[in-house]
Each structure stands twice: as structure tokens, then as C-alpha cells.
Symmetry: C2
Subunit: 364 residues, 2 copies
DNA sequence: TCCACACCTGATACCGGTACCACATTGGGG
DNA sequence: CCCCAATGTGGTACCGGTATCAGGTGTGGA
């Protein structure tokens, strides 16, 4: 042991230590080109002795490959994105890639900045759950691609943007959930959360096109809700959809409002976690009992949902798998080089978990 | 617009486009050295025109600064670590740093590998929630530091390791929570979860030293539990602590066992999320009603806890703040250069949220 | 009128790697 | 015995930046 080495040794240091030329040391350490057995051992021993670790940055500058992926999400503290990030991270680590994760707080300007950071740091690919609602707002994504960086969208496909995307079928999941409620006998089903509507729609027409044809989760879930109503021949009632800010407080207020209607809903479909907790607060305040006077279905299963009294029926999203699949698609694109095939929309299955929060409507 | 540039333009391209020397272009773009107003404008315009973006990797090789932090946690999908990661990410973004996040799945070997990756990628600092239980197992952390990378521990301080750490006072939080139960009149309080005990301790002595003097969360929480018993003059009963695997299933089984005791607990202190849900399952199966026949306190508040029936008393951990503080301490170390002060243990406050799951014991 | 100096620019060496290629050696076959 | 190929090594250009410095130009003061 040649004592402490505070400065990080370089290839030249190893070469000197081993008594060989710089390029010979580089060749053995880098694993390219030729080196005799004897020299190889001497170099390896020298590297070990002085604690040499290759500078990955310098290598990347030279090779043009950084072995790093970029991930852009709204909020890492959100367990959904945490799961996706973990899925990506695990899948990419297997291939020797690491992940640079940037949070945008659902702000498009921050997303653009994040994209630039990733371009500057020369990541080999980008996975993004974009806040862009349409292709026109996704110039930064086009730019990343045109500078040669493969991009895969996750969770949210941007309509009109011709890029691989890995999503769940929010529309079908919502349709199935609502159909489940209808099958239990419900006719008046509240929709809590959704695409941000500034004001109450006056008729169903006002909702046509809201988030339509786009894969953005909220819009899709609303469409699925409408699909189910159509399938079952149920009337749409504008009073049964939430409007305004997407906060737990507003969800609570909106559900409270619905409970005051002449003909209140007998079931609620909550499209997100905070929509569910807000609804539960409103129900508790109104003395409405879940599974008896009110049926409930929520999105994003959690270990809590199963221990609620009664346990809540939930739609489970495969977050890990979503991330793993996104990474897989990204690597396929990277491997394919520029001659990639046509972009695909990869849809993963959700799982409906039936629990006791859904029961026939309480007809008194 | 000089059409599409699929290849990424370099400083030389800008120089050519602007009709100046490479170094002049570099000087203006890099913001160092001199350049006349007229040339500056020409260079900036040229850069804009061909869409030049500096290669951050090349810059890092030259300057030795990567403007990247490394974060090592057990599992990004765990909301606790998600929150910490988000806190770090937000704080570091403000200073123009990005974060490389690696998950180790609570495996020390993976943690060592992750550390090496970060060293190789020349991050400017590392924040780690280490799986190492003692300084002897933290050679990789020492190694990172000796190669000049500042390190800050988060969530878990490694005993004997002389490094800055940002943690919560798990011991005090646990003590206070248990004291709260005692104040409500409870004398038999179950401890669910804890440091993995292979077999049932036979007497209290067996627990002395388990996780003692170390900041590792489980050990600290157990000590806090014992502290509270001592403070309140309560007897310790080995039957009231959970043993075996730290899984939701086992927590359920252990609580079920405790309920069968001749003198079952009247309250439970759950040190983690899965411990709480496991406990709730056991209680439901046994027909025990929370807040009536059984009082409950859990760790890690969640929006679900507030909407449970009854709402659950919880200890809230400041996850975002934990991350933000860790980043702050790390930056202070980075700014201080090699001449850093003595390592400190930074302790953040938890918050006890009293809800209806704690009530006086039901004496029939 | 000439020199000093401020102003401005390009050349050049470097960071720590990759990768190619030219140039010894050595040895075997014709 | 000589030549050529295989074997092994170091030199060198390059990746895309940073940073210093030499030197050319223009202006004002002596």
C-alpha cells in the first residue's frame, strides 16, 4: 500500500507505477487492444495498488456514450413516480446505466430546463412523464430527439407527438371500474377529480374533447367514465362531476356538494389518491357509510386501502412495470440506433381489486 | 436557420460559423477571459443559430467539477425515500446541481457498487442512507471521502463513522409516543417491528445493546420504547415485542399472538407503515376496535391515516426537510473544501399528530 | 515621431480518457 | 540466411471543453 492517495490517480499514474507506456496501461485497463499476459498483470496490480478508478466522464467525452439515462417526472415524492423511477433504475442498472432524476413540479418551463440539463450532460436517453398537453408544447422533446437522444414517454403520451410511449389504459380502467359500479346496481355515479375544468360544464357536449384523443391520464379517465355511462345507457349529469382545483380540500367540498343534491350519487369513482381521501372526509362529515350508503372505487392501490373499514376497491397501476417497460423500450431504441421502427404506444394492464367498498345501492 | 443539425455542434463549429478563432468562441461562451462587444454578439448569434449547447461532460473533465450529486437509498419506491430524494433534488437544483439516484435494495454489496459508480462518475458529493450498521462495514464510504468526495449520511447515522449526518431523533420520537400512550392510561403496550431479532429475547438484558448507541432507526425506536417504560416505571415484557421477519404478514401474526396473551396489550406502537397495516389486519380479524379496545400510534404520517375510522395518531417525519438539510450540509462541506469543521449530527424534529386512535384503555 | 500600454485575438497546453497506427522484437519457413 | 508475419509496445491524434499566454493592433502621451 503506497499510503494515502488523496488526488485521484489517472492512467498515467498507473503506467508510471507499472513501468509501462501510458497507452499500454490504457489498453489493458480499458480492455481494448492487445497486451501480453505479463504486462497485463503488472498493470492490473499497479492499478489496484494505487487505487485507480477510471474517470467515467473523460471516457464519455471520448466515446460519446455516458451510460446514463435521464428521467423527468413531476414529483419524486409522489409514490407513483417513485415506483416508476425505481422500475427504471432497476432495469437500467442491469445494463450498467444510471439514472439522473429531475422533478419538474408539473411545470412545463421546469421540464424544458430539465431537458436541457439532460442534453448538456449527454445522457444516452430520456424518459419523461411530460406535462405537455399537446405536441405544440413539446418542442423541447423534439429538440432532444433531433440532437440524437432517444426519448420515451411514460405514464402520459403527448397527443400528436410521434414518440414511443409506455402507459396504462386509463380509459379502459376507468370504464371497467364504473361498469363494475353499474353492475352492482348504481345509476348515479359521481366522478371525483378529472381534467381541470374552470367552470361547471353546462351539458355533456362541453366535455367532448376535454382531454379527448390524448392519453393524458385525467382526460382519459373522464372519457372512460363517459364510455361506461354510454355502454350502460345511463344519463350524464353535469352535477356529478367535480370541477375546480385538484386538491384534497376541493374534492371534499365537491363531494359534500354532491351529497346535497336532490338525487345524490350512490357511488363515487375517485381518479386519484387525494380525490379518494377528500371524498372519505366528506362522507364521514355527512355520516355516509362506505359500502352501505355509498360505494367507492379509487385509483392507485395502497396497503392502506386494504385495511380501511370497509376495505376499498381499487385500480392498481403497475408502477414498477411501467418503469421497467419504459427502460426496455428506451434501450431497444438506443440499440437500434437511428434506424428505429415506427413509434409504438405500449399499454400495460391495470388490475381491478374488488373489495367491500362496493355494494348494491342502499334503497330505502 | 442553417437547416437541421443532427450532430451536436461543438465550440469549433460555433467559431467557424462566427468567423472567429476557437478560443475566442470558447471564451465568450464559457464566460471567462475577454472578448469585444462586437465579437461577443457575433459568437452568441452563431451559437444560437446552430443550436449550440456546451458539453457538460467535457467541461467537467476540464474543471474537475461535475455539478452532480449522488444519492444512495434503499428503495426509491418507498415514499419516505421519495420525499428525501425530492428534498435533495429541489435544494440542489437551486444551486445548479443534479442528482444521480441509486437504489440498493437494502443490500450492502449493492451499496458498495453504487458508491463506486458515483466515484467513477465524479459526483461532487454523496448523500447516503447507508445499510451499514457499523463503521467497520462502511469502508466504501471512507473510500469515497479519501478520494476527496464529501459525504453526508441521511436518515441513518453509522455509529463510529465520523461523518456529518442528518437524522430525526427516532429515540425521542418513540419515547414521546409511548409516553403519550402511558399518559392515556395504558400499561401494556406492544412494540410492533423493530430491529430484526432472530429469536424471542428471554429477558430485557437481551435487548440492551441491540441497536444501542447507533442511530439506525429501528434500534433507536426500540430504545425509545424502553426509555418510556423506564420513565414511567413500567415493567418490560418480552412477550410484547415483535420478533422475526419484518413483513406485514409477520407483523399481523405477531399482533395476533399478542392478542392471545393472558394479559394482552391495550395499545400498540407501530414503527413503520407495514407494521401498522399488519397490526390493523390482526385487529380486524380479532374483532378488536381501534380507539376502543385497542389504542394505536404509527410512524410516517400519510393522508390515509387521517381518513381511517377512527383517524390514526401518527409520528410525522419531515422527509422533504431531511433531504433539503442533507443537501445544505453537503454544500457547506463542498464549499468549505478540505478544511471542513468537525462532523456534526443534525437532528430534525418529528411531529406527533394526535388523533382518535388513542383513547384510555377499555377496562371492563 | 516614437514608444508604452491597453485592448483584443488566436495558438497552445491541458484535463483523462479512447483508439489507431507505426515501429520494434522475435521466430519460423523458404 | 534472410524476409516476413505475428506479437507486443509506445507515440500520437482526438473527444470537447478550460485557461493561460504570446503577440498583433490601435491610441495617446511625451
Amino acid at each position: 500500500m503506497t499510503s494515502e492517495h488523496s488526488a485521484r490517480p489517472t492512467i498515467s499514474d498507473v503506467a508510471a507505477e507499472a513501468g509501462v507506456g501510458r497507452s499500454t496501461a490504457a489498453r489493458t485497463l480499458g480492455g481494448y487492444g492487445y497486451a501480453s499476459e505479463e504486462v497485463r498483470e503488472r498493470v492490473l496490480a499497479a492499478a489496484e495498488r494505487i487505487g485507480y478508478r477510471a474517470n467515467a466522464l473523460a471516457r464519455s467525452v471520448s466515446t460519446g456514450v455516458s451510460h446514463t439515462l435521464g428521467l423527468i417526472v413531476a414529483d419524486l415524492a409522489n409514490p407513483f413516480f417513485g415506483g416508476v423511477a425505481r422500475g427504471i433504475s432497476d432495469a437500467s442498472r442491469e445494463r450498467g446505466f444510471d439514472t439522473l432524476v429531475l422533478s419538474t413540479h408539473e411545470d412545463l418551463a421546469e421540464e424544458v430546463a430539465a431537458t436541457n440539463v439532460l442534453i448538456d450532460k449527454r445522457v444516452d436517453g430520456i424518459i419523461v412523464a411530460s406535462a405537455a398537453l399537446e405536441a405544440g408544447a413539446a418542442g423541447h422533446i423534439e429538440q432532444a430527439r433531433s440532437s440524437g437522444i432517444p426519448v420515451v414517454l411514460v405514464d402520459r403520451a403527448v397527443p400528436g407527438l410521434d414518440i414511443d410511449a409506455v402507459v396504462i389504459d386509463n380509459r379502459a380502467a376507468a370504464r371497467d371500474a364504473v361498469a363494475h359500479l353499474v353492475a352492482a346496481g348504481h345509476r348515479r355515479i359521481g366522478f371525483v377529480w378529472g381534467p381541470p375544468l374552470a367552470e361547471r360544464p353546462r351539458r355533456r357536449r362541453d366535455l367532448v374533447g376535454v382531454g379527448t384523443g390524448n392519453q393524458w391520464t385525467d382526460g382519459e379517465r373522464l372519457q372512460g367514465y363517459l364510455d361506461a355511462l354510454d355502454d350502460e345507457g345511463l344519463a350524464f349529469d353535469v352535477e356529478l362531476v367535480m370541477v375546480g382545483a385538484k386538491t384534497e380540500e376541493n374534492a371534499q367540498a365537491e363531494v359534500a356538494r354532491m351529497l346535497e343534491l336532490p338525487e345524490p350519487p350512490t357511488a363515487l369513482f375517485c381518479t386519484e389518491n387525494d380525490a379518494m381521501t377528500g371524498s372519505l372526509r366528506a362522507l364521514r362529515n355527512a355520516g355516509s357509510r362506505v359500502g352501505e350508503t355509498m360505494s367507492l372505487i379509487g385509483f392507485d392501490d395502497s396497503s392502506w386501502a386494504a385495511v380501511m373499514e370497509p376495505p376499498l376497491s381499487m385500480i392498481e397501476q403497475p408502477t414498477l412495470a411501467l418503469g421497467a417497460k419504459a427502460a426496455e423500450v428506451l434501450f431497444a431504441t438506443i440499440d437500434a440506433g437511428s434506424r428505429g421502427g415506427a413509434p409504438e404506444l405500449h399499454t400495460l394492464e391495470t388490475r381491478f381489486i374488488a373489495r367491500a367498498s362496493v355494494a348494491p345501492p342502499n334503497v330505502n
